[in-house]
C-alpha cells in the first residue's frame, strides 16, 4: 500500500448490478443464546446480500437483533451464543470458521467500527500503537513502516497534526477524533466490507454529520461496502443505498432508502417513521410512540412478532409467521397485507 492508498477513487460498482456475485451473502442465519432463563432467539432466519461498494443499513429498535447479526458475521459471539446458517464473504463460507482462519479475514477483508469510541480503544496504548498493531499483525510490516502508514491514514481521515496524535493516548482525544481513529483502524487494510455498529450513537449531532461524511468519503475512495447498523433513521437516509428493517430477530422489510422512507410497506416500518420527530412538527404534544413492548426473544409468539402492537392485525397474523414476500425488484415485506389497506 502506498501514499495513494485512498487517493485513487475507484469506479463505484452500481449496487443494482444484480447479476454480479454478492460480496456478502447471508442465508438462513439464526443466532441463539443459551441463558439460565432459556434459549434466547436473537436472530431468526435472516437472508440478505451486500454487493460490492454499496451501503446497506440495518435498522430496528433496541433488542431487535441487529447487533447480533453483525456479531454473528464477525464471529464475535460470546461463549453462550451459537449461529447456524450460512455467511459467505466473496463466495467463501466464513460462519463457523476456526479462530485462526477467521483472524486472517477479520481486520483485512472485513473490519468493524464500534459504537462507543471511548471504550473501543485501549486506554493503555497510544493511537500509533493501536493502528500499527493491525498492520504489523496482518501484513508483517516493520514498526517504522507501519507508523508511517498510520500517519498517512490519520491524515486521510482528516485528523490534524497526525504525527503528534500518534503519540497520544485515547483519553487525550475528543470523541469525534477517537471515532476517526476507529475508522482509520477499520480502513487500514482496505477491507472489502466495513461493518459499522451504531458508529455515531455516542457522538453529538454535529460530530455525527462529520463522521457520516467521512464514511461516505472513504467509501467513495476505496469502494468498500458498508453495513451500517443504527436506530437513527436520519443516519440511514444520509448514507445508505438499501435498508433492511429488523424486528424481533427477523427482517420485516427491505428496499431502497427512497422506498423505505416514502413508501413503507410493513406496519412496523410505518410506525418507526411516524415516531421520528421532524423539525416541522408541532412540538407541544407528546411525540408519537409505538405502543406496547417488543416480544421477549426467549418466548416468541407463533405468529407475526409485531402482531401485538399492530393496528392492522388479523387472525391469520397470530397463527403463523408471515414470510417475506417479494413486492418488486429488491423489495420485500413480511406483512400479509398491502400498504394500500392501511391508509383507509
Amino acid at each position: 500500500m502506498s501514499a495513494a492508498l485512498l487517493d485513487q477513487p475507484q469506479a463505484r460498482t452500481p449496487w443494482h448490478a444484480a447479476d454480479e456475485a454478492p460480496l456478502l451473502a447471508v442465508e438462513g442465519l439464526e443466532t441463539r443464546f443459551t441463558t439460565p432463563d432459556g434459549t434466547v432467539n436473537a436472530v431468526n432466519g435472516i437472508n440478505f446480500t451486500v454487493r460490492k461498494g454499496e451501503t446497506v443499513g440495518i435498522v430496528g429498535e433496541s433488542g431487535s437483533g441487529k447487533s447480533q447479526v453483525l456479531m454473528s458475521i464477525m464471529g464475535l459471539l460470546p461463549h453462550n451464543g451459537k449461529s447456524t446458517g450460512s455467511v459467505k464473504l466473496g463466495g467463501e463460507e466464513i460462519l463457523g470458521l476456526p479462530r485462526d482462519q477467521l483472524n486472517k479475514i477479520r481486520g483485512t477483508r472485513m473490519a468493524m467500527i464500534f459504537q462507543d469510541p471511548m471504550t473501543a480503544l485501549n486506554p493503555y496504548l497510544t493511537v500509533g500503537r493501536q493502528l500499527t498493531e493491525v498492520l504489523t499483525f496482518h501484513q508483517n510490516m516493520t514498526q517504522a513502516m507501519a507508523l508511517e502508514q498510520a500517519r498517512e491514514i490519520l491524515e486521510q481521515v482528516h485528523i490534524p497534526e497526525a504525527p503528534k496524535r500518534l503519540n497520544m493516548y485515547p483519553h487525550e482525544l475528543s470523541g469525534g477524533m477517537r471515532q476517526r481513529v476507529m475508522i482509520a483502524m477499520g480502513m487500514l487494510c482496505r477491507p472489502e466490507l466495513l461493518i459499522a455498529d451504531e458508529p455515531t450513537t455516542a457522538l453529538d449531532v454535529t460530530i455525527q454529520a462529520e463522521i457520516l461524511d467521512l464514511l461516505a468519503e472513504q467509501q467513495a475512495a476505496t469502494g468498500t461496502a458498508i453495513i451500517l447498523v443504527t436506530h437513527d433513521l436520519g443516519v440511514v437516509a444520509q448514507l445508505c443505498d438499501r435498508v433492511f428493517v429488523m424486528y424481533a430477530g427477523r427482517l420485516v422489510e427491505q428496499g431502497t432508502v427512497r422506498q423505505i422512507f416514502y413508501d413503507p410497506q410493513h406496519p412496523y416500518t410505518r410506525a418507526l417513521l411516524s415516531a421520528m420527530p421532524r423539525l416541522t412538527d408541532d412540538v407541544t404534544g407528546d411525540l408519537p410512540t409505538i405502543g406496547g413492548q417488543p416480544p421477549n426473544l426467549a418466548r416468541l409468539p407463533p405468529g407475526c412478532a409485531f402482531a401485538e402492537r399492530c393496528d392492522h392485525c388479523r387472525d391469520a397474523c397470530l397463527d403463523s409467521v408471515p414470510p417475506l414476500r417479494n413486492i418488486g425488484t429488491d423489495r420485500w415485506t413480511a406483512c400479509r397485507r398491502d400498504a394500500a389497506e392501511f391508509v383507509s
Binding site: 481486520g107 462507543d116 497510544t126 498493531e133
Partner: protein, 300 residues
C-alpha cells in the same frame, strides 16, 4: 514532558514518526516522580553496598574475632563499623552479606511469582470456561498443599540449597498473583476494546500480551511491592527453622532474629540490620507506587 515531545514531533512533519511504547513513556513519567526516584536511588545504593560493601572492610563474614568483645557496639578504630555479633563476628560485613541473600530472594522470588502469576492468571481469565476451571483448580490444589511440607520435601530430595528457597517461595507466591490477575482479566475481557481487537483479527496470545497485560499492570505492581517484603520475611522464617540459609551465611531475617534476642544488652545488633530492611522496604514501596502511577497513561 508530553508537550515537549509533541513539539519535537511537530517540528519534523512527515519524517521520522516515532512511536513511544508504554514502557518508554512510563520510564519518563517515573523519572519525574521524586519519591519513586529517591526510592530507586536508595535501592541502588543498598544493592551496590551488598555487592561491593564487604570490600570496604578488612574482615570476612565468617571470621570470629576472639580478641574483641562479643556483642560490642561500633568500634571504628578496629574497623568494626557496626560492632560485633554474639559470636564476635563483624556485623557490618554480615549485614551486607545478609543484604545479598535477602535482596536476591526478595527480588528473584517476586519476579518468578510475577511472571508465572501474570501469564497463568491472564491466560486462565482470558480463555474462561473449562480451561479457566481446570487452571484455577490446579491453583486451589497447590494452595492446599502445606507450605512447610513442600519445603521439607524439597530439601529432602535436593539437599539444602539457597536456590531451593527461590523455587519454594516462587512456587507458592505466584498463586496469589495468578488469582488477582485472573480476576482483573475477567473484568477486562468483555470491554469493548478487547472485542475490537478480536474484530481486527488479533490472535489470543497477542491480545493477552498487548491489551490485557498493560491494563492490569497497575494492581500487579502494587501487589509486587507487597510481595517483596513478604518474601524477605518468609525467607527469614525458613532460615529460622533451619531450612533456609545456613550459618555462617546469613540473611537480614536471621540477623534480625539474632538481634531481637539481645536487644536489651546490645541494641546495635537489632538496629543495623533492621534499619537496612526498613529502608529497603520503604524504598520499594515508593518505587512500586511510582511505577503504578507511571504505568497509567491517564495520570500524566
Amino acid at each position: 514532558m508530553a508537550v515537549s515531545s509533541f513539539d519535537a514531533a511537530a517540528k519534523l512533519p512527515g519524517q521520522n514518526v516515532r512511536g513511544v511504547s508504554l514502557w518508554q513513556s512510563a520510564g519518563r513519567r517515573l523519572i519525574r516522580n521524586r519519591a519513586a526516584m529517591g526510592g530507586l536511588i536508595v535501592l541502588t545504593v543498598v544493592a551496590l553496598l551488598a555487592a561491593f560493601g564487604p570490600l570496604l572492610s578488612p574482615h570476612k563474614y565468617d571470621d570470629v574475632f576472639w580478641d574483641v568483645p562479643f556483642s560490642a557496639p561500633p568500634d571504628f578504630a578496629n574497623h568494626f563499623y557496626f560492632g560485633t555479633d554474639a559470636n564476635g563476628r563483624d556485623l557490618f560485613v554480615r549485614t551486607l552479606y545478609g543484604a545479598r541473600i535477602s535482596l536476591m530472594v526478595g527480588i528473584l522470588a517476586s519476579m518468578v511469582s510475577l511472571i508465572i502469576g501474570v501469564v497463568y492468571g491472564a491466560t486462565a481469565g482470558f480463555l474462561g470456561g473449562h480451561a479457566d476451571n481446570v487452571m484455577m483448580r490446579i491453583v486451589d490444589i497447590m494452595y492446599s498443599l502445606p507450605f512447610m511440607f513442600f519445603v521439607i520435601l524439597l530439601t529432602v530430595f535436593f539437599g539444602r540449597n539457597i536456590f531451593l528457597i527461590f523455587v519454594a517461595i516462587g512456587a507458592v507466591e505466584w498463586l496469589d498473583m495468578a488469582r488477582i490477575v485472573r480476576g482483573q482479566t475477567m473484568s477486562l475481557k468483555h470491554r469493548e476494546f478487547i472485542e475490537a481487537a478480536h474484530a481486527f483479527g488479533v490472535s489470543g496470545p497477542a491480545i493477552i500480551r498487548r491489551h490485557i497485560i498493560p491494563n492490569i499492570l497497575g494492581p500487579v505492581m502494587v501487589f509486587v511491592t507487597l510481595t517483596v517484603p513478604k518474601v524477605i520475611l518468609l525467607e527469614s522464617f525458613l532460615s529460622f527453622l533451619g531450612l533456609g540459609v545456613q550459618e555462617p551465611m546469613t540473611s537480614w531475617g536471621v540477623l534480625i532474629a539474632d538481634g531481637a534476642r539481645s536487644m536489651e544488652s546490645a541494641p546495635h545488633m537489632l538496629l543495623f540490620p533492621a534499619t537496612f530492611l526498613a529502608v529497603t522496604l520503604f524504598s520499594l514501596n515508593f518505587l512500586g507506587d511510582g511505577l503504578r502511577d507511571a504505568l497509567d497513561p491517564k495520570d500524566r
